[in-house]
């Protein structure tokens, strides 16, 4: 059914088109402010979170510090055993589990001596977690990948030979050949190992030289989904640390929690600034609705005197507020896409997150809030119109 009161409201809006449009602009600005501010905050949050997440999706499992009972010798075997590794793999499910051997030792490149960390990695695993900037990954038995710091300090090139071990102990130190060089990783390494000052060799070569074929110094679990972090940690803990601390499970998630809580309060703050403009919009809608009511007092008098119910008069004015809200929200929604996109790209310089649901949701949310603000602003004027005395209203000019 086509509602005649809706018709009347549309006609009233059309009749006072300019005024209605101006009032709607208030809502447009409010909607744009709320959605672009919200999107700006969210995009910032998403981006920073993503930057931090490189590295926090890794759980590091090491064997726990062993405290010997009196009279008991400390086991030399302080690594993670194959059995524990299997348990970790079971607990980690679909996530990649990479066991790592590591030791700190001296090495020589040409006539220069140095000290650094030697990592022993399965060549397949090395391919998974390391991206060389030069050369290739480990293929042959004595291939090695060197970190950026070593590479630049010692002028390492692909094919350079490195002698591993303390120089004075044995004459024939084992030699590896540099197959690849890693880019600078810095602190925010995305692979869970500090590669800058490291030489990465194959696990077979490593155990051949340093032993420890049945144990690993560290096991890294690379999570596909960072939100499962604590669940996976709990699973490993349950499976491996059955009733006492055998392995230590650590991650760097506390960092992201604090940063993202800071960012979300920042988002709330800028959203609050955006909301102020909606408050202004509410005032202007209220004003226009009051004008509409006071201009149409006589018409309201006619409507009431010939038998229009008060609820119907109220409805007519609420429709009018609703129409203003819809106009404002629709224009505002369209402009939010454009302005929001521009603001995000200008201030963050990255629009990769713009169309993600958690960002784009601010547009419909802003539109709905705008419409609600409009209807709420129309409540009092509508109530005022419907509660007029028809006699007084008719008499007014």
């Amino acid at each position: 059914m086509k509602d005649i009161f809706f018709d009347l409201s549309i006609r009233s809006v059309k009749l006072n088109f300019l005024r209605s449009l101006l009032a709607s602009i208030g809502i447009v600005i409010g909607v744009v402010a709320i959605s672009s501010m919200g999107m700006l905050g969210t995009n910032m949050q998403l981006m920073v979170k993503d930057q931090l997440t490189t590295g926090i999706n890794i759980i590091t499992v090491t064997s726990d510090v062993v405290r010997a009972e009196p009279g008991q010798s400390v086991s030399t075997n302080t690594g993670i055993t194959e059995i524990q590794l299997r348990d970790i793999r079971d607990a980690a499910g679909i996530n990649d589990v990479i066991p790592i051997d590591r030791t700190s030792t001296q090495f020589s490149i040409g006539s220069d001596d140095g000290r650094g960390t030697i990592y022993g990695l399965d060549p397949d695993d090395a391919r998974t977690i390391l991206n060389v900037s030069e050369g290739s990954t480990i293929r042959g038995e004595s291939d090695a990948i060197v970190g950026a710091t070593i590479a630049s300090r010692f002028g390492v090139k692909i094919g350079t030979r490195i002698k591993i071990g303390e120089p004075n102990i044995s004459v024939n130190r084992p030699v590896v050949r540099v197959a690849g060089i890693l880019p600078t990783a810095g602190l925010s390494s995305s692979n869970g190992i500090n590669t800058d000052n490291a030489i990465i060799v194959s696990d077979t070569w490593y155990t051949g030289e340093f032993g420890g074929g049945n144990t690993y110094d560290q096991v890294n679990v690379y999570l596909k989904d960072v939100t499962t972090l604590s669940a996976v940690e709990d699973a490993i803990d349950k499976k491996v640390n059955r009733n006492k601390e055998i392995v230590r499970i650590s991650d760097s998630s506390s960092r992201i929690t604090s940063v993202s809580s800071t960012l979300s309060s920042l988002t709330t703050f800028i959203l609050a600034i955006g909301s102020i403009s909606l408050l202004v919009a509410a005032t202007s809608i209220f004003n226009v609705m009051m004008m509409s009511v006071s201009e149409r007092v006589q018409e309201i008098g006619i409507l009431l005197s010939i038998g229009t119910e008060t609820g119907e008069v109220r409805r007519m004015f609420l429709y009018e507020a609703f129409i203003l809200g819809v106009i404002g929200a629709v224009i505002g929604g369209i402009m939010s896409v454009i302005i929001g996109y521009s603001v995000v790209s200008a201030m963050i310089g990255n629009t990769a997150y713009f169309f993600l649901p958690e960002s784009i949701v601010y547009i419909p949310a802003g539109m709905i809030i705008g419409m609600i603000v409009c209807i709420v602003s129309g409540l009092y004027p509508a109530w005022k119109a419907s509660n007029m005395d028809p006699i007084d209203a008719l008499r007014s000019e």
């Binding site: 005197s305 010939i306 038998g307 119910e309």
Partner: protein
């Protein structure tokens, strides 16, 4: 015509409380109007004509006394019941026509039907009533401000008639019209009276009052002749 009056005023007073003191607009008025009467309400300005019309039109309630219309005591009705009674029992014709400016002539006539049946008119009643008051079909789509005074008053009469009310309340219906058009409007009202409507007419103009069969004279809130 049946025995009980359509409209009965029993010792009706209306007092307005003003800053300058109480003003008694209607002073203990008792009056019966039977169904099918054609009554003219006359009196100088300030005599209480408008207050009386507001009582008869269920727009107001008396300070004391009772107003009964179609056997119902107005003061004991709820606001919604009064609204429905205004819609269904009374047709209003005003001096200034009071058409709804945003609606076309046709829609103005259709409007009370929508109020009553909550749906648009598909029976052709609105168009038929417009035709019966001699309103051009082709003018139906025009807004009130595009019509002459006489045309607007015809539309207003059609609007008053469309829900088939028992009572037509006409407040100076010819007051804003030239004499010739005024008489045309009066001819329409006379015709409606002949069809059985109870017509109550407020006027200053003795010539117009002559159309009525009974004249009620008001002065200072009292009936001086009936």
């Amino acid at each position: 015509m049946n025995g009980s009056p359509l409209i009965r005023l029993l010792d009706v007073s209306k007092v307005y409380h003003l800053e300058s003191g109480d003003f008694t607009a209607l002073n203990h008025i008792s009056l019966d109007i039977m169904e099918g009467e054609f009554v003219a309400l006359m009196g100088p300005s300030g005599s209480g004509k408008s207050t009386m019309m507001n009582q008869l039109g269920i727009l107001d309630v008396p300070t004391t006394g009772t107003v009964s219309i179609a056997g119902k005591n107005i003061a004991s009705m709820t606001l919604l019941e009064r609204t429905h009674m205004r819609r269904d029992v009374i047709g209003y014709i005003f001096q200034k026509f009071y058409l709804i400016p945003l609606l076309s002539a046709y829609e103005n006539v259709e409007y009370p039907l929508i109020l009553k049946y909550k749906t648009r008119d598909t029976t052709g009643r609105a168009a038929a009533v417009l035709k019966s008051v001699g309103f051009d079909q082709e003018m139906s789509a025009h807004r009130p401000n595009q019509l002459s005074g006489g045309q607007q008053q015809r539309v207003a009469i059609a609007r008053a008639l469309v829900n088939d009310p028992k009572i037509l309340l006409c407040d100076e219906p010819t007051g804003n019209l030239d004499r010739k058009t005024g008489f045309q409007i009066m001819d329409i009202l006379t015709g409606l009276h002949k069809e059985g409507k109870t017509v109550i007419l407020v006027t200053h103009d003795p010539k117009i009052a002559e159309y009525a069969h009974r004249t009620i004279q008001l002065e200072d809130g009292r009936v001086t002749a009936s």
